[in-house]
């Protein structure tokens, strides 16, 4: 079976049914190892046990950007190749991305209060991440606003691609401008500045969060495909001659 066969929504739904149980098992296993590692990880020399918030906060921050990147690639699929599953993938990803962004902002706020002394400041990193949350909500709203799914898909795809400019701003905000948020500790040119005893649980948690996203994304895509089928069937039903008059009789 070639990769192109999965482009067929029916085949895709069959595939998700087969893959989902394995993905769920993998997600649970990774979270188990990751949380165990988080519990084992030593306290930070400066921040004490508060540093454990990092093991939730940082994976959510990475995922908030990763999900947007996948939506941007899907948008190219919608606009350039007019692929039937591309808009389904983008639409299923948006609420998940919004959720990761929200958890990132909420945990960051709870981490900021004891360490920095404030829940929120308008520095470049925090503000650009909040803009990302608003982008997600705006995209979801735009899908809801336009009734014709084809038109909605194209409008949302254009807006998604415009919003891609925010991703490098989030990533490099801490390097381009001075901010209250500290610079990157893992993905940096001269290697991680985080002790290996804390780094490995963080990476496992990030992998677990990624698997959680893949699982929920596949399930959400399947739901979206079925929802669209129901809509088509309803429209066909309504268009059938005689149906309307029977009801009014």
């Amino acid at each position: 079976m070639a990769l192109v066969d999965f482009a067929n929504p029916t085949r895709f739904v069959a595939l998700t049914a087969r893959v989902t149980p394995w993905l769920i098992a993998l997600t649970i296993a990774l979270f188990a190892v990751g949380l165990y590692g988080t519990a084992l990880a030593p306290d930070d020399y400066q921040q004490g046990a508060t540093v454990k918030i990092m093991f939730i906060h940082v994976p959510c921050a990475w995922l908030s950007m990763f999900v947007y990147a996948t939506m941007a690639i899907s948008s190219l699929g919608t606009l350039v190749w007019r692929h039937p599953l591309a808009d389904v993938a983008a639409r299923a990803g948006a609420p998940l991305g919004a959720a990761f962004t929200f958890v990132c902002l909420a945990t960051g706020s709870l981490w900021g209060k004891p360490m920095w002394g404030t829940y929120w400041v308008w520095d470049a990193r925090l503000t650009s991440e909040l803009v990302l949350l608003i982008m997600y909500l705006g995209l979801i709203a735009l899908w809801q606003t336009i009734e014709d799914p084809l038109k909605a898909a194209r409008a949302v795809a254009v807006l998604t691609l415009v919003g891609v400019i925010n991703l490098p701003i989030i990533k490099f905000s801490v390097d381009w401008w001075n901010t209250l948020h500290q610079p990157a500790a893992v993905f940096r040119m001269d290697g991680p500045t985080i002790d290996p005893s804390m780094l490995w649980p963080l990476l496992v948690m990030a992998l677990a969060a990624t698997c959680l996203f893949l699982t929920l994304h596949l399930l959400a895509m399947r739901n979206e495909i079925l929802r669209r089928r129901v809509r088509t069937l309803r429209l066909m039903e309504a268009a059938r001659p005689g149906v309307g008059s029977e009801r009014s009789a």
């Binding site: 350039v80 004891p114 920095w116 400041v121 470049a124 401008w177 500790a185 804390m198």
Partner: protein, 149 residues
């Protein structure tokens, strides 16, 4: 050129234009986007007494003097310039000598910065206490270096 290639070219061109526009806007707004001014910025621009700014840098080692009734005075430095700061209130837990801080407040006429809020800033190094102690012992420790850019 097929229609797909034409659409892709159009999107890529639009992307480059938007990225360039965004870069120009952000570059133009740099002064507004930075979260704080360093002591060197202050030395260069001399903010007027009474105008609100955020001052960021490291708490100079040996400069912290705690008065009675929660009054603290210290100096904020970026290793080339420094500014004297007074603050009345509760400092964040991470506040200590050599640590990054961002203070928001106004300059008084005598050049002292009167802070209304003091936030602690930490750098991107995370390690257990034992590792930090070992680094300090072996002389490989580098102080806070991320502020005062």
């Amino acid at each position: 050129m097929t229609r797909k290639q034409r659409r892709l070219t159009l999107i890529l061109t639009a992307g480059i234009v938007i990225a360039a526009a965004g870069a120009l806007v952000l570059y133009g707004l740099t002064d507004k986007i930075v979260f704080f001014n360093s002591p060197s910025d202050v030395a260069a621009h001399h903010p007027l007494p009474g105008s609100r700014i955020r001052l960021g840098g490291l708490v100079e080692v040996g400069s912290v003097v705690r008065d009675s009734d929660a009054k603290v005075s210290f100096a904020v430095t970026d290793n080339s310039n420094k500014v004297p700061v007074v603050f009345v209130g509760i400092l964040p837990d991470l506040f200590r000598e050599g640590q990054g801080v961002v203070a928001e407040g106004t300059f008084e006429t005598n050049g002292v910065f009167k802070a209304e809020t003091v936030l602690a800033k930490h750098d991107e190094r995370y390690m257990p206490k034992e590792v930090a102690d070992a680094l300090k012992k072996s002389g490989q420790w580098k102080g806070e270096a991320t502020t005062g850019k």
